[in-house]
Amino acid sequence: MSTETAPSTVNSGKASMQDAIKENLREYGLVLALVVIMLFFGYMTNGILFLPVNLTNVVLQNSYIIVMALGMLLVIVAGHIDLSVGAVAGFVGAVAAILMVDFGVNPLLAGLLCIALGGAIGGVQGYFIAFMKIPSFIVTLAGMLVFKGLLLNVLSGRSVGPFPPLFQLLSAGFIPDVIGRWTIVAPTLNAAGNPMPGTGIVLHSTTMVIGVLIVAVMLYFALASRRSRESHGYNAEPFVFFVLKNLVLAGIILFLMYKFASFRGLPNVLVVMGLLIGVFVFVTKRMTFGRRIYAMGGNEKASKLSGIHTERLTFMIFVIMGMLAALAGLIYSARLNMATPKAGAGLELDVIAAVFVGGASALGGVGQVMGAVIGAFIMGVMNNGMGIMGINIDWQQVIKGLVLLGAVAFDLYNKKKA
């Protein structure tokens, strides 16, 4: 079957090493930036950054930002913006607290109700944006004011907490170690007979197994897609490069998993996040729904004339955004273990910054889910690292602002050159 396609392969030749490096630098440039930033702060903090407990913390601190960044990516690719997500997250967190603490509603039921509430809020805003054609900037600015106000109103100045233990697990829990702990180097015991922290290596083996499985699945799909490309006669990157790239990625994943395993295992919230990221990558890269969002962001009029229901699509994007903002609100309040009147304030800016650092275009039509996730981690690691270094919060803000500007400027400069 490949006899027909063979000549075209010969004509265009295999992609050269140089092309492959160039292509991948563009694709994995952000990963590289994240690694460099992590190494830098690792060095500046004498390795504190890489302590298992701290890496776990980085994930917990940024989980709600990343959850919202997934939705925000769709919103921004579609050519819109959502300024209300912080206020919505805060408001939904408060509603969850009142349901569970004041009314004793079952945490699972309360969680589902709250996500539905977020979807409804997103739907209302989406209605005004999609069908009434009011600019999203204005609608969601209004939404931000409204839900900030409602948050104050429902809490009437108090903080509500603590949450039932089951709910706290969302942010404070770790996956159970069904296999059992795996002692590699026995820790030194102190006088009381308890293990001394920082000595010995005891691993959360379920986490390690999951890590290995993830790497295996990743490699399988990478190989399968390479095979499929080759069998159809399209260029694949040089094999050496392919192997190196995947080994490095696998190494990074295993390294992080090892770190988690040597603390308390995978945080629950990381599992939730990982699943969501997987779903969003799939939807944006492989599904018609995602394709239509990119088309609409690139040229709304042309998309409309190609039979895409742009209004309905916009509406759905805001419903999804609302649901994710609600989920983020739940994670946020579970982490604090209470709902406060200041919850969620200013989060929208971190979320939007993450998406732009991740390479999305403010004009719409351009942006990647993984970009937004890595963008969020870049900002998160910087926060964390600067915090450990004891840099004042005022300078932290300045530096983060400059990084955002620099990242986008660098991105534009690269595109111009290409």
Partner: protein, 511 residues
């Protein structure tokens, strides 16, 4: 030779990987109109960008001598200062500013940053008189038609004390009447001693106004001919590098039963619903038939097509659409596509393509279900479809992953056509399918149209170029002021009869 005002010698300009211009020579004499013609992608626009300083000195090699002096422009400001002004194909006017404000945009009549509005109005009025535009200088540009906007652009150029005016496809979006007026204006300027470079695809225009024609092909100057040597055939031969025996490929029509029919179609204006734009149109297309819609700009051709295709234009729409003799629901674009209708827009950049995405994604956009299952896209199937259509419509690109915004007009049009071919329609409405594209690409597109008809599809072609309609259509409807004012078979149709139908229609409207 001392009346030569501009000499470009040995201009070479390379982009990464491509030689856009190679040793191009061009000269312009005082008080002449020089036409520059060439296929899209031949390098005309690049050459003009070199001349006007968009590509600064050092970006290209070669020499530009202007009034005997070598010029090294570092930006568009430098070229404008010495009186070289370029008017781009896409007008650079700010729609929500007044005519006067637009004329002096970037050239404000101000002292210490404070604008002298009286001076602005007086000067603007004088300039408008010069270009023959009777409009109040305070009118917003958005409120005047494209033809008049073109005149505002020229007035803007005059305000800069222009000595050499460059016009890039100035009549591409003008009606015949407006084009005529514009060309006469150029002749008038010429009589006053201004020089002009005219880039055009319309060979009849070139023949009418140009003193000399320079032909560019594949980034090289092919030849420059003097006025008495200019013939359309010779221009075409040098442009495409081969002689085109016939500009329209031959076809033996095999016409079957009626496949598409519109009855009593009425459409009202979207903003002023009391205004009727389409006033009861009846028409039909048969299997294997190419049917044309002729008419002047503003006759309602595009409005008709878009209102039929998913009510994409207008309000208060009434009438029936039949496909294969059965009533068809075309009330949304999605339903119209499902019913077997396709509409390729006249404005590919605004309504046709996602210019920031590549060919592959554009080709499948109107029929994603054709490459997906339960909402999941099969990447390999999509690549295959894109490659098939790229080959079938002969899109010239490095691969299907080339960004459509970087393609030439003709190739962009082929991507639009591919998109609609892939949606597997029974009836295609092609709105100005060859606007702004070169002779070679036009021929290819006519070939595609013929092939579609041979496959038994119905094709409805809207075009402002009457020779084109006469060349490819089996039957032509003449549309004027929202009404069908004539229907002509292939044998009887002629430019004269079409114009007569339009004029008669206008007379009837006056009575």
């Amino acid at each position: 030779m001392n009346d030569t005002i501009l000499e470009m010698r040995g201009i070479t300009k390379t982009f990464p990987g491509v030689k856009a211009l190679q040793d191009v020579n061009l000269d312009v004499r005082a008080g002449e109109i020089l036409a520059v013609v060439g296929e899209n992608g031949a390098g005309k626009s690049t050459l003009m960008k070199v001349l006007s300083g968009v590509y600064p000195f050092g970006d290209y090699s070669g020499e530009i001598r202007y009034f005997g002096q070598e010029n090294r422009f570092s930006g568009i400001h430098d070229s404008e200062r010495v009186g070289i002004v370029i008017i781009h194909q896409e007008l650079a006017l700010v729609p929500l500013l007044s005519i006067a404000e637009n004329i002096f945009l970037g050239n404000e009549q101000a002292r210490f940053g404070v604008i002298d509005w009286n001076l602005v109005r007086t000067k603007a009025a004088a300039l408008l008189r010069k270009v023959g535009l009777r409009e109040d200088p305070d009118t917003l540009v958005t409120n005047i038609g494209t033809g008049k906007q073109q005149l505002v652009e020229i007035a803007k150029a005059l305000a800069k004390d222009v000595k050499l005016l460059i016009l890039d496809e100035p009549t591409a979006s003008l009606s015949e009447k407006d084009s005529e007026a514009l060309l006469n204006l150029l002749l008038e300027f010429k009589a006053q001693g201004m020089s002009c470079i005219l880039i055009s695809h319309k060979l009849n225009e070139v023949k009418k106004v140009a003193d000399r024609v320079t032909v560019i092909r594949d980034g090289r100057t092919i030849e420059t001919m003097d006025k008495d040597a200019i013939t359309e055939d010779r221009i075409i031969t040098s442009m495409v590098g081969r002689s085109l025996e016939d500009r329209y490929p031959a076809r033996t029509p095999k016409i079957g039963e009626t496949i598409f029919e519109v009855k009593n179609w009425v459409v009202h204006h979207p903003i002023h619903p009391e205004r009727q734009i389409i006033k009861g149109i009846n028409l039909n297309v048969r299997k294997g038939e190419v049917v044309g819609i002729a008419g002047l700009m503003g006759a309602g051709r595009t409005e008709f097509a878009m209102s039929v295709f998913g009510r994409s234009y207008g309000t208060g729409i009434s009438g029936e659409v039949y496909l294969h003799g059965k009533p068809a629901d075309t009330s949304t674009v999605g339903r119209a596509i499902d019913a077997g209708l396709a509409y390729a827009t006249e404005d590919r950049k605004t309504y046709g393509l996602n210019l920031i995405d590549h060919i592959k994604h554009n080709v499948t956009l109107a029929h994603l279900q054709g490459v997906s299952r339960s909402g999941v896209i099969d990447d390999m199937a999509e690549v295959k479809v894109a490659n098939d259509y790229r080959r079938r419509t002969n899109i010239r690109s490095s691969s299907v992953y080339q960004i459509t915004g970087n393609l030439s007009g003709g190739n962009q049009q082929k991507v639009v056509l591919s998109k609609w071919l892939f949606s597997k329609p029974d009836v295609l409405i092609l709105d100005e399918p060859t606007r702004g594209i070169d002779v070679g690409a036009k021929y290819e597109i006519y070939g595609i149209i013929n092939q579609l008809a041979d496959e038994g599809k119905g094709v409805l072609v809207i075009s402002s170029e009457m020779p084109e309609l006469l060349g490819i259509c089996d039957r032509i409807y003449v549309l004027n002021e929202g009404r069908i004012v004539g229907e002509l078979g292939r044998e009887e149709a002629s430019q004269e009869k079409i114009m007569r139908a339009i004029v008669r229609g206008e007379e009837r409207a006056v009575q």
